[in-house]
Symmetry: C2
Subunit: 377 residues, 2 copies
């Protein structure tokens, strides 16, 4: 019963919740900066809804739409300068994990002078621009976390800024912005969310609160799984209908609430190399490794895996492996040299060193990569 729980973000969920609650924006000041990627927020209607809400409330705004996938530290500094130059009072982050995570770093850097080499040291003052988050994918859960994950070219991996001041003040969770999201992106992000919930249950920081949220999150993934399997088979995005989108959005938000408490574990630590060096999508990278790590956990803590399988409505890990395989398809080509390099990086990562109930050895990490990518031992 030893745990800490904290998730201060105010969540508004539901169709058209942004415009219906436009008065919320008013409490943060008279000028906003929208932070988003190049185009998707314009296409999916989210940017339009935010602007409608801001205009309804007579709030001025500027747009920073230069966030790339897997945003860099440089991007965060550039956005922070833009925020300062435009004297904005708050940030509205619109998009998937990349714009939300970049926006959090911008919110911090706009108010505090922090050198790049100190950015991940965990020592920050209280000052930050308030953040309002509008997720348009169902994966990261960044709308309800204190994490900003940036690509760190110095360390050749992704690195997290984790600070309570980075929790968005408000999250608007509306699945309608996902309606045009391609099948592959939908699946990759959904698998990321699933990985958050499963890893949350495998974290030493898990608690009865995070576990309750994780199991609920997993149940929403399971509810959406048949439609995702059909869609990946046929390539027909229309199979991912409004109900599926809503289920996935809730799955991802609940999973975000989980990792806000627990952090991630071996799966994310290993997955980051796949993304950094092999350009494998983040959620997909986790999905390729998730069942492998569960198999390692099962050896010493079978009841933990049984609890996760129960939430999945499954009795065998092989069923789960089959589901992930169906969703993710053919795996990428990895060399043994890749594996050795990635394993060494992973075992040094805090998510393995400090956060796993079952801490894999370097040999086990090696074996998980080999297994996941069908390499001979």
């Amino acid at each position: 019963m030893n745990y800490k729980y904290h998730m201060p973000t105010k969540v508004f969920s539901g169709k058209n919740c942004i415009v219906a609650n436009s008065d919320v924006f008013k409490t943060f000041g008279s000028k906003a900066m929208l932070v988003t990627g190049r185009s998707s927020a314009k296409k999916n209607g989210s940017q339009h809804d935010v602007i409608t809400a801001l205009e309804q409330q007579g709030i001025d705004y500027v747009v920073f739409d230069k966030v790339m996938a897997n945003p860099t530290i440089e991007c965060a500094y550039e956005g922070a300068e833009f925020a300062k130059a435009n004297q904005v009072y708050f940030i509205v982050a619109i998009g998937g994990g990349s714009p939300m995570d970049a926006a959090k770093a911008m919110a911090l850097l706009a108010k505090q002078d922090i050198q790049p080499e100190d950015l991940f040291n965990g020592q920050y003052a209280e000052d930050v621009l308030p953040i309002i988050a509008v997720p348009t994918t169902a994966g990261t859960g960044s709308e309800v976390t204190q994490y900003s994950i940036l690509t760190n070219n110095l360390l050749e991996t992704k690195t997290s800024i984790a600070a309570d001041i980075l929790f968005p003040k408000v999250a608007f969770v509306d699945a309608k912005y996902m309606s045009g999201l391609p099948v592959t992106t939908t699946i990759n992000t959904a698998v990321d969310a699933l990985s958050h919930s499963v890893e949350g249950m495998l974290s030493i920081r898990s608690s009865l609160v995070s576990d309750a949220l994780a199991k609920e999150s997993i149940r929403y993934f399971v509810k959406a799984a048949p439609a995702m399997c059909d869609a990946v088979g046929s390539g027909d995005v229309s199979l991912l209908d409004e109900t599926v989108r809503q289920d996935l959005m809730q799955c991802a938000m609940l999973a975000g609430m989980v990792i806000a408490q627990t952090g991630t574990t071996a799966v994310h630590a290993m997955g980051y190399s796949l993304t950094y060096f092999k350009d494998i999508d983040h959620g997909r990278a986790n999905g390729l490794l998730l069942a492998e790590y569960m198999a390692v956990v099962q050896e010493s803590e079978p009841q933990l895996v049984a609890e996760i399988l129960a939430a999945l409505g499954m009795s065998e890990l092989s069923e789960f492996k089959a589901l992930l395989s169906k969703l993710l398809g053919e795996v990428e080509v990895l060399t043994k040299d890749d594996v050795v390099k990635f394993s060494a990086k992973a075992v040094a990562a805090p998510a393995i060193k400090g956060n796993c109930k079952v801490k894999p050895t370097e040999d086990e990490v090696n074996a998980m990569f080999m297994q996941a990518f069908n390499l001979a031992f």
Copy 2:
């Protein structure tokens, strides 16, 4: 999927969590006011632990230990004056619902000039003394809610101040302070917590998040139920051991997180009269009415009740009724005049008017009271 979720309190749970996290107090200033009842916080060790933590951090403090059960508006004003006179920076509320709820009103009134007639109008500025909550009973969940419930002699009932600024900044949840709590108090408060979770699921403001927390809370009640039944039969408080206390503390905190989202429903609306006019303990009052209200709900929304029964691990409402009856024993004597008066008050209460998925009519409220108190129709 239309809902709002917000629970910003930072929760520390676990044995000795106050002293282990004494640095948390430091962030709120150099002088505190402890708000508590006459004696229990001194006996159960909670006041001692808070003082130890404050002294470790060099924080000065004053003690206001005059909060009575079912605290009055006058008590809240008196404590606020005491806080102002002593120029404290924050409040540490220690005890059951009464000290915590009174402390919240004091925190508000110490910073804002509000006349008694405006105290419940919902219009407050942002200023409030920060509140740290230390529950010593497992019932109210006030440590994680935005409610301050005071006895309102003008309206002859209990009335809530509900404001986001009243969420405690921090809650320290340590079941060890409950170790000496008498069997009857333990059961009454536990039944209050159960009522919060069940009513949360019956509220129009329920959501997937609050339902997940409610079901988990109910499961903890069920886990503790056999020991409570044994203790009530034998009167042996030692049957309520550390594990039972922990389970009940978690049950109550989760249930608090639920009503922070959902509010309460017909059960609380009806129960307040039993407490105000008949001096029946608050939790007991809810427990006497809970199964009756579930029976009313079952008529039009059987699946809702089935979901609650599933969380209880039961298949029939009669099983639940039998459990409550075993825990609560012989009922008090009520007259038909009482029933008529209480029913009229209940149907006018916001918890019935605005918050029930199944809104009972005055006749149904009448019938529930009659049934609960074995009165002939």
